[in-house]
Symmetry: C2
Subunit: 462 residues, 2 copies
Amino acid sequence: MNMSRARERLVVIGGDAAGMSAASQARRLKGPDELEIVAFERGHFTSYSACGIPYWVGGDVTDRDRLIARTPEEHRARDIGLRLRTEVTELDLDGQRVRARDVDTGEESWTSYDQLVIATGARPIRPDMPGADAAGVHGVQTLDDGQALLDTLEGTRGRRAVVVGAGYIGVEMAEALINRGYDVTVVNRGSEPMSTLDPDMGCLVHEAMEGLGITMVNDAEVTKILTSEDGRVRAVVTQDREFPADVVVLGIGVRPETALAQAAGLPLGPHGGLLTDRSMRVRGHENIWAGGDCVEVLDLVSGQDRHIPLGTHANKHGQVIGTNIGGGYATFPGVVGTAVSKVCDLEIARTGLREKDAHRVGLRFESVTIESTSRAGYYPNASPMTVKMLAEHRTGRLLGVQIVGREGAGKRVDIAAVALTAGMTAEQMTTLDLGYAPPFSPVWDPVLVAARKAAAKVLGSL
Amino acid sequence: MNMSRARERLVVIGGDAAGMSAASQARRLKGPDELEIVAFERGHFTSYSACGIPYWVGGDVTDRDRLIARTPEEHRARDIGLRLRTEVTELDLDGQRVRARDVDTGEESWTSYDQLVIATGARPIRPDMPGADAAGVHGVQTLDDGQALLDTLEGTRGRRAVVVGAGYIGVEMAEALINRGYDVTVVNRGSEPMSTLDPDMGCLVHEAMEGLGITMVNDAEVTKILTSEDGRVRAVVTQDREFPADVVVLGIGVRPETALAQAAGLPLGPHGGLLTDRSMRVRGHENIWAGGDCVEVLDLVSGQDRHIPLGTHANKHGQVIGTNIGGGYATFPGVVGTAVSKVCDLEIARTGLREKDAHRVGLRFESVTIESTSRAGYYPNASPMTVKMLAEHRTGRLLGVQIVGREGAGKRVDIAAVALTAGMTAEQMTTLDLGYAPPFSPVWDPVLVAARKAAAKVLGSL
């Protein structure tokens, strides 16, 4: 069948979720006689769960290797030519080749490609301030970062931890450090933690975290990090206070790692991520694909490009890319902005637009917030849950949902995520046939209670 | 404003979920000067959770009154003229009136109506066999039934319980009796428990229940119940065996309670339930409404009428009826057949069509079953979960999902329930933006894993 076709070479840059999913799926569809696959990874690991690092640091996951979904050896056994500790330093689009450098030896060489997958991920934002590189100051982006932090924790007698940033990484690391027995202070630039929520919902997270014994400091800008004579961190300084610290964790977000792509002239979006079409092909480039934390994705609710670094998207991107390279056809239509997290037993979830997102894209909306419970009120361990829902003014189209509660709160956001994807109105949601039994839900699921209230408000405003 | 309109009278037959939700919602929209409301209830209670009875019997809920969402006094305080222990014995449609009988005094009287709500519920199927009415043989349809069973349990020294039927009530009562320390045998007519699942999924429930120490007897037809000399139950007899029993619980389903409606010539469907339009108006009758366990509902997946007695539907029906009577406009479009249950820590959920349902309505389909986990595999307490998905042959339209697992399995069915409502295909589901973080889900949610496999099978069969 393939007599007339030469063997193609696929080059993958980046050995984590998106890159190796693409490689694996392409391999599933095309054998080594049809497709050679070469993957470059500058670190030591492949296909690991960066999202799992806080739970490893916190002690819930005791073995680092459990975070690795597929080892280099497993990839190689599937005829994927994996080159670890090898960094790609240049893309030559005209020559269809990449230059790679062995991190240990410094040796460089060119590799040509027929198909190229860019999966270079994201890099953590490191604040440009004095002391940011001091010993005891850690990011938690890679397994190496996680190990370094654990080494610091084991080697430090002090129990004062400062977490800079109160987004997903920040709150998860606060939990991890509380679980390790630290006195934890979270220093947060915003008015409330979890800026992916509206402030009224973030306030619930704030209160719950204080209830866990975490010191929350909002509206605080870190200006410098003080070190002691031995070069170790000793305090975090904000515009008006100083917080003694034996260890500092930076969780202030990431940016797409697209320096290579930018140098090669590939199209970048407003957030610095690569722009692709729905098949995850880099716009305007027939044989170049990109996925994972280095791309921007279409927000299906706002119609705008967003940068959402999240393992689940990266895996889907890789699957889509691999299918397309393998001769199938698949698309990634976009996201609705679903995210879920927890800090101890507090569950935090969101999907769609916040109030400020809706304002920004010029949507008028009605907003409602309701209190309900995870189970029938009379059932043991029914726990309170707050659901906020935004629906478009007049049309009633669902725009977003935020949920804060205990067990059973987080994954309830999936109901709204599917409804958003389907373009449902709040009114349509009121009759959704959701699973009901007393151990699982009140007779009106909390999401339905919110939908009823939102639908009524939309109707009342016509 | 209402000067020219006479005060109308709404008569409600049945004081549980559908009837009292309708009354309450109508009252919210129309004050007593506009609308008089009279509600007849033949029992002692209003607005209670029949679904909660197994948990009360099992001891999870210690106070019966916690199952009562709203007491008669609370209804009366909202100007709802509630007549307890009063049974409606006749509908006179031409005369627009109902005849009611005081259960205690036997006194009868006629009450005229402008609007009528029929919410007569369902009656348990009592097998027509010797011994079915013996002391120690119990149904669990009403709070009075629950109390009678509890009285029997307290007054009985023996610890052998036989549950007849292995549907929702059967498995929930098996759990309740296990929790009370009984030796429990479940005698089931079907080849596997939970006939609302396909047998291959019911088999998982069977194995798990046996693992809990419950004796499961399938393919067993109860032929009689043996009593001792004092008239108390002593054994349940099937076609080929005899099971000693100190207490017997019947959980063999319910039928719509529509004798009144039938006698009055109102339209009934194939399952004996009242037929309504989407506004819950009885077909062909402008001012008669019906909801809850006495109606049939449209199955949005098969396009057929079904009888699904479930509190969550009853509440929605009541809400819709009350809104319409109150001068608003609301509809109940139908159901997709979602149900969730548990037996100890085993969670069981389903939505949409089983294989035999799809065959019955002449749909060709692809079926897949996958194994996954509730959380990231490396996260503590990640528990196994089996997801079965049916998608229509060629089109790939989602037809149904069944899930059996532990914590986190049950409510995952909501993802599929919303997708079914929206008419999504398995392929569209593969890119759903569901909540992901290691404590909540693997990077590919189990429902997405099933969708991927189903989409691939549909594609492969084109």
